[in-house]
Symmetry: D2
Subunit: 113 residues, 4 copies
DNA sequence: TTTT
DNA sequence: TTTT
């Protein structure tokens, strides 16, 4: 309680979703999402910066991603930030931060929904 | 353009902010923020999960953090997700994801604003 | 599909929630929420503006409001904007815009959750 | 302080923006935005509900709306809820709730930005 | 490492 | 009509 953990992104998929069946009837989809922003520097020149985000979708949303999303798709994603730790090959503790999506809106006309 | 990168969190500081003066007149504040959530499992038992987030504040917001925030403070933060890479001592590329805050609301009565 | 309708507010209740039982087992809670903001004008003087919002909660959230919320409570509300029309006593069409809440976080230490 | 008043919408313009020059160099744009949502009822049948919102943009954003937005454009808007009161022709006090936008993302490929 |  |  008394906690809020929300991420909202609008951006393009960097590649096709990677789909895994982790259990009978449970699908997971993973992909990178690029969010880009333009700004003007002191000299009035326009620069663009891009941030990349690791998106993870479960079950129904993963199946939707499998059917309709592909490299380049423009989407809105809402979800939660989760930082997982794992051991790398050398046995050192490493961290990854992912967005576990709980809502998707497809913004490309060509993608069906 | 056509990009959105927004994080909104409500949670408690895990420790006092770490304050650095990186340049004449430029302050940076860093701290961990815990967001907690409760849910009931299939047996009706309540579980609490906590996620930890790395928050970075610049300039005016960093000075505000220095003055008013401390271990345990309850705040609302809005900002952007940024993943930086750096080399660890072994020279391997590693990643950290941080939230660069651009708005703070102090939610503790005891903290001044 | 392809639609998003989201409101997020942090503010204080202007009065105790008005509770109605509209049906067997269905509770509705209504109250006004004040969100205040301070800004400095050109002369450096601080001004505060307050916006008032009509909040409507259904079922479980309404019961939670009945138990824990009262005049002055500080809360976070997330919900959807809905504009309803109704006829006034003169038979003219009038409109009200309400926020139908779907998440509440209580931010006062004295309120239980 | 201690207040948050934020609305985020993704939807289509119901008509071309209405543009007004209210002062030397100050433009205001107004338009209706439809946000649609689909849901399944108990019988599995899909229903769509649409909410309409009154959007107001000032200065630079209004000029951008004038240049690039038109009936049907798909946009993301972020802003604040404001309820204004005014007197109708009979002298009765009436209210309107508007969203004063402070960020726009154009989501149609055909609209330039 | 926080908080209720 | 709230709160600091």
């Amino acid at each position: 309680m008394r906690g809020l953990n929300k991420v909202t992104l609008i951006g393009n998929l960097g590649g096709d979703p990677d789909i895994q069946r982790v259990q009978e009837g449970v699908t997971v989809a993973k992909f990178s999402l690029a969010t880009s922003e333009s700004y003007k520097d002191a000299k009035g020149q326009v620069h663009t910066t891009t941030d990349w985000h690791s998106i993870v979708l479960w079950r129904g949303l993963a199946e939707l991603a499998e059917k309709y999303l592909h490299k380049g798709s423009l989407i809105y994603v809402e979800g939660k930030l989760k930082t997982r730790n794992f051991e790398d090959k050398e046995g050192a503790k490493r961290y990854v931060t992912e967005i576990i999506g709980d809502q998707i809106i497809m913004l490309d006309k060509r993608d069906e929904s």
